[in-house]
């Protein structure tokens, strides 16, 4: 596999959210606006790249029986770092993402990539894989976030859209809208992939 395809396979073909259906909890919870989606996507990408790198470095000395606890400790360390950094430098984002930053630990994408890729491949390839998957996750969050923000609050990235403002469909920023938009975006991706 070429280096480039390791990165790009996560974008659409093996998109972690829309094709592999991993990490649905943060996808549903933080996509009320594009901004939150980007914030969450970048935080997860950071964790993915660094945890993949570390797990790949440790792969030769990790005993097979206790690999899952070791993966979890490595991931939890980077999640704590991200959590404290966001609280320190972007308190507004920490406020709106809240509980879901520490929950990156149990995001199936991170543990899934550690198990499926980083524990078997070299350091550089693992970092690229983490980067690609992280970008794919961010893309999915931005797509869903865009639809929900336009329909639900009549704005995009905080800028009001003339006609949509005043005609918001409130349900799209609430819980049911998250499920609806996610379901239809996933159906659309499947439809396009079949073609």
């Amino acid at each position: 596999m070429s280096k480039l395809s390791i990165v790009t396979k996560g974008f659409i073909k093996e998109n972690p959210v829309l094709v592999l259906v991993l990490g649905t909890c943060p996808t549903l919870a933080v996509t009320t606006s594009v901004e939150n989606g980007i914030g969450m996507g970048l935080a997860t990408t950071f964790v993915l790249v660094l945890s993949n790198m570390f797990i790949s470095l440790l792969r030769k000395i990790t005993p097979n029986e206790v690999r899952i606890p070791i993966f979890i400790v490595v991931i939890a360390t980077f999640v704590s770092i991200v959590d404290l950094l966001i609280q320190g430098f972007v308190p507004a984002l920490a406020e709106s993402l809240g509980l879901f930053i520490p929950l990156i630990v149990v995001n199936c994408i991170v543990l899934g990539r550690a198990e499926a890729f980083a524990s078997k491949n070299g350091v550089f390839d693992s970092m690229l894989d983490g980067l690609g998957m992280g970008i794919g996750f961010t893309i999915a969050l931005v797509i869903i976030g865009t639809v929900r923000e336009i329909l639900g609050s009549g704005a995009i990235l905080g800028y009001e859209i003339p006609f949509m403002k005043g005609n918001e469909i409130l349900i799209f920023v609430l819980a049911p809208g998250a499920f609806f938009v996610f379901g239809y975006v996933m159906a659309l991706v499947r439809f396009l992939q079949k073609k």
Partner: protein, 190 residues
């Protein structure tokens, strides 16, 4: 009265799946049949209640007195992972039939974000140890109820002809959206 409000709040108003999006992975993944869904529901109820009992005890007696709250995420996830392993081993030894029924779900629970999510949530809310444990138990009961209702509807849905692109996960998500709409009716109850 306090506990009645807590039950209604945790089970209906702030249902962990349909209002707070915690634990949607198993919710979508193992909800094809009512029997597997109820197995998962019971396993989650069991593990979540014990996990919060342990994490909030650790929080009150170890993390808080020594000012170690920044280690919260690592400590909690380790406790949960160890606990799931332990529950699995104990069940295997003392109750093989129960292990047969719940065994396959237990490893999945470590990465169920509802367990860690509610443990952190009750810490954020500052509940006492007893209140934390009860709140978690009610939340988990809400999870079990939602997943069983959902599986019941999905069983029926299999018999209906739906367009190919929407079959499977997308239809499940849209269905979850409709359920969430129904649960919004409880919104101002408490």
């Amino acid at each position: 009265m306090y506990y009645i409000i807590m039950i209604i709040g945790a089970v209906f108003v702030n249902n962990i799946i349909l209002a707070q999006f915690l634990g949607t992975c198993p919710f979508v993944g193992v909800s094809n049949k009512v029997s597997t869904a109820s197995g998962m529901g019971v396993a989650v109820l069991f593990v979540m209640t014990i996990a919060t009992l342990f994490t909030s005890t650790i929080n009150y007696y170890i993390l808080m007195p020594f000012g170690l709250q920044f280690l919260q995420t690592i400590t909690y996830i380790l406790v949960i992972a160890a606990l799931v392993q332990m529950v699995e081993m104990i069940l295997k030894k003392i109750s093989p039939p129960l292990y047969q029924a719940l065994g396959v779900y237990l490893p999945l629970i470590t990465t169920n974000c509802a367990v860690l999510g509610v443990a952190i949530l009750v810490t954020m809310k500052g509940y006492s140890i007893i209140d934390s444990t009860l709140y978690t138990m009610f939340s988990a009961a809400g999870f079990a109820m939602a997943i069983i209702i959902f599986a019941g509807i999905r069983e029926q849905l299999d018999l209906v002809g739906i367009p190919k692109g929407i079959q499977g996960v997308p239809s499940a998500l849209i269905l979850a959206g409709i359920l969430a709409l129904a649960f919004m009716g409880f919104a101002n109850l408490v």
